[in-house]
């Protein structure tokens, strides 16, 4: 299959293309050259042409890309033409913030939020009520769930993730500070959001810059 031939780095850039093209559409732009898109996205024009050629190339020489068409095609590749149901595991601050995050506009709907703490039971979060972890198997069984968001500490995540897989979950967005290595079936997809590690990268670059500045002075 052609799709399988897309490299990870291209896939990583597709959501950005999708976002930029959406902004262009909102601004009433219907056609754009790879050169203009390149300036906006801070990617070289040849990179853009190469990336988009992966999907058969949507542009015409000297005429540019049809913004709406290109966005729709990238949306199809990203699977955004279908809606996705999600559950959130953990009704702490991060879980509740994510329940209120506007993922809906890309078709990602949170239809359940769960916690183990009886004190949080039935607590209102957006248009949902917190359910208890014990209710997970029957909930997963009676709803089509695509993605589980793990908004729990790593100790709980290493217990909950395999449990959720046994109950049929195939994809995770993981906010806990563990990679879940070796404890999940091979076909399960995990996207990690390690917030502390993002700060460490910032810190590395700050440190690097400081050393450079010292060298100069």
């Amino acid at each position: 299959m052609k799709k399988n031939g897309i490299s990870k780095s291209v896939v990583k850039r597709l959501p950005r293309y999708y976002r930029y093209l959406g902004e262009l559409l909102n601004a009433g732009v219907e056609r754009i050259s790879s050169g203009e898109l390149s300036k906006r996205m801070n990617v070289t024009a040849s990179q853009i042409r190469q990336d988009l050629n992966n999907f058969g190339g949507f542009g015409q020489q000297g005429y540019g890309y049809n913004v709406r068409y290109l966005r729709e095609e990238i949306g199809k590749i990203l699977g955004l033409t279908e809606t996705h149901n999600m559950i959130i595991i953990g009704a702490g601050r991060i879980g509740r913030a994510l329940a209120n995050y506007p993922f809906d506009k890309y078709g990602f709907h949170t239809i359940g939020i769960f916690d183990r703490d009886p004190e949080l039971k039935d607590m209102e979060v957006k248009d949902l009520h917190v359910m208890m972890n014990e209710e997970l198997p029957s909930f997963i069984n009676s709803h089509h769930i695509d993605i589980a968001i793990l908004a729990i500490p790593k100790e709980s995540a290493t217990e909950m993730a395999p449990f959720l897989c046994e109950n049929g979950i195939k994809a995770f967005m993981n906010f806990s500070a563990t990679d879940l290595n070796g404890i999940l079936p091979k076909d399960v997809i995990v996207e990690h959001v390690h917030l502390s590690e993002s700060l460490m990268k910032l810190s590395y670059n700050l440190n690097l810059k400081k050393t450079d500045d010292d060298d100069v002075s």
Copy 2:
């Protein structure tokens, strides 16, 4: 400088090494071979040796790595031996969740949270009280701030980020759905956390898997 020679992909892996080594220390492990570390981290042993050789190589053939020493050295490279002060821009759900996130354990201290909404003024968030955006210049001027976390919508972010730079901020952790391209001075460091894009990557992989499964059946 040697440090400048470290590739981006290695830097990206360093926080993971740091995290794993911390877990090993907590578990009482003082020495580990690249082979064992490789199994835990799901990275090849030769990759690990290569990565760590970037920093002079902390291991001894047939003897393994000294976990504490290696973690300390990586911590130094990541700039984690110093503490970092942060401010959070936006006291909505994401901003408040981040204020309560345990970044402190890596030396990242949130010392101020700001919003433009007068109704949020003085609201208690962890051990802080929400300040108004107007107070930012004097606050930044009287405190040493290393990092500003942008927990605001993109329209506000494109206004606030340049304003914060003018007032001396040099690094951002950016949760807003914009790359801030072309509007910040070149020496400013930005680490993006685009949550919707993480979901799109998941969606792409789910879609890909479904197509594969269909092919098989």
